[in-house]
Symmetry: none
Subunit: 202 residues, 4 copies
DNA sequence: TATGAATGAGATTTCATTCAT
DNA sequence: CATGAATGAAATCTCATTCAT
């Protein structure tokens, strides 16, 4: 009889919103943004079409919010390493391992992000977000290579980043085909390049 | 055998077709496949909507044909190098230089290809094409590294390919932003890894 | 008879109801009936959407109730004049002045009424209300002009009414533009037509 | 076999466009803008829903174009009189008669215009158009009264305009009810006010 | 009595494709 | 071979109303 409390309402909203977002991400990643309809999302999420518009202003807005959250998650590995206070080489190892783990865990999400980063049709805000995150990541990597004592840390950071992302590009492309991508030996090869800088505390 | 007018017709057909394809590629790359309408392509190409259906059975078919041609162009650098009969290291140099040149020349085309390779919503045939070309390229690269005498040529080929494609991914992402991507020094760095194998036949 | 709390409840109800009505009138007048949503009214009135349905059966019903009250207010000037027991010409003056005052005071309300009177899409009941009130007003005006001794009081009443309403139509149309409508001199001109009938009872 | 000529296409377009516009005007005027759906217009016009969007960018745009044309028609009587080179009083007569004729002929169109002029929800352009036309009309009327030798031609023009429009407001409101509006005697009364200025050439 | 999340019917809009000329 | 008006299926979006709490 008494109306639900503000906290109850807030909780319901959070849950519904999350439900819609996660369903949408799943479908966008599997079928692509344009090929996924609001009806499909609603049906998959078990809610009415209209409800989506209680939480997101439009289909575009939904994608927007989704990508923003995903992009934030994208630099997680780097921040994790930085805050681990491990020696630089071990941080590098951690970054590589964590990133591989993330990509393996969520192939679809990363495909979505990669696709969107290429598409100029995606909304302005997203287009601004990605290069910005790219810069932030690069800054962290440059700092790390500098600490390790690698010559030309900036060039090295770009190179390392390119190889890492190239690995994922290939890995993602190989998914769903009969190609078995040698992710593990690639990881070893990538790290082996910097193994000389490992023995910092000997 | 056929009367000359037939040949002329054929030539006109080819030109018209090519015109439509190139216009479509430009627009698909700039706006994405779904956000580009048949009307836009027709207007930009200076032909009628109806005419498009003389050359392509559908919008999907147009994309299909487009991607097929683009993918063929994608291994051009590798074949060029192979047929140059240069020493292996010089072939590698040629591959890197030619590929960079190609990507720089036609940013949009490569964005399109990369995007499409990620999208599961794109038609089945396209999806099959890319991994196949990936395999072909890998085979050529493995052979090249083997000739150069690099240990574990297979792993090396994957690694090399990942770095090269990662470079392009970053380069493409950086386009249209204020990031100036150090393509040239990346190229040097990539090749420097194999410089030890340069003087194999002296 | 009823316990005091019932009276209090009733008072609260009346206040809440009036609050909703006035907010709705404001919004309907500013944005039009169809462009105003129940949500907007609820938010602006500071109540929940659900509560609105405690007081009004539907959005249409809300408009209905609103218009009824407004229409009642519309003949107020005439009744006021009639009950003043002033000489006829002074009654005419009073009617003009009071009506002008009312329109100036509440531009939005009058815009709404005028708009609604034109729209056949508005519910049947409202459509019946306005001509009825029009007739009532005309009856009062005819009586007044007859008392003043104006020839053809019926035609004169229609003419007077047309001019008065025409003034308001123009005045309302001019609101929000850079046109400064000469309401005062129009008033003088309108009354000057009947000034000859002023000194009838001296 | 040969495609239609440009002229043929243009003619088809004109016809289709006109068909849609007139059907829409009829329905908007009868039911109001918001209560009329694109489906209704399409069905009544005997075309598909989609076709409307070949000619009008949106439902709003359709209304926009419609109102623009109607507003243009609104000053037709004034211009007609001005270009008749009749003596001023006869021009006034002509204006009154032509305007009455126009309103009688097309009750619905004028109801629509009057309604829209009141609604702030109608698009910006229309809102700007009406006061502008109002000014133009007033300028013409002031000139006319000045030529007639009426004192204070400006005030007189406003007054005349108000009465004329008031007549129509009442006439339109009376339509569809059992009130028989005395349009003819109103006309006489309106003109009689200026009959003293008739004998300009005696 | 009061709340606002949720519904769903129905509105607007898009656009690949067809087809008469 | 060439045209673009017309179609219609399917998409996105709106919002009055309901209802569990």
């Amino acid at each position: 009889m008494a109306p639900r409390s503000d906290e109850q309402f807030e909780q319901i909203r959070q849950q519904s919103r999350k439900n819609i977002q996660e369903t949408a991400l799943e479908l966008f990643a599997r079928q692509g943004y344009h090929s996924t309809t609001i009806s499909q999302i609603a049906k998959a999420a078990g809610v009415s079409k209209g409800l989506m518009y209680n939480y997101f202003a439009s289909k575009d807005d939904l994608l927007q919010k989704l990508v923003e959250e995903e992009v934030e998650a994208g630099v997680f590995a780097l921040e994790l390493a930085q805050q681990s206070f491990l020696p630089p080489y071990q941080q590098l190892e951690l970054i590589v391992e964590e990133t591989i783990r993330a990509v393996q865990t969520d192939v679809r999400h990363w495909k979505l992000l990669t696709t969107l980063s290429m598409q100029e049709e995606v909304m302005q805000q997203v287009k601004e977000l990605l290069p910005q995150k790219m810069k932030e990541s690069m800054a962290l990597m440059i700092e790390l290579f500098a600490k390790m004592g690698v010559p030309n840390p900036e060039t090295e950071a770009w190179f390392f980043g390119a190889t890492l992302d190239g690995l994922f590009l290939h890995y993602l492309t190989a998914q769903g085909t009969d190609i078995v991508y040698p992710l593990e030996s690639m990881k070893q090869k990538l790290l082996s390049r910097y193994v000389a800088y490992k023995a910092t505390n000997s």
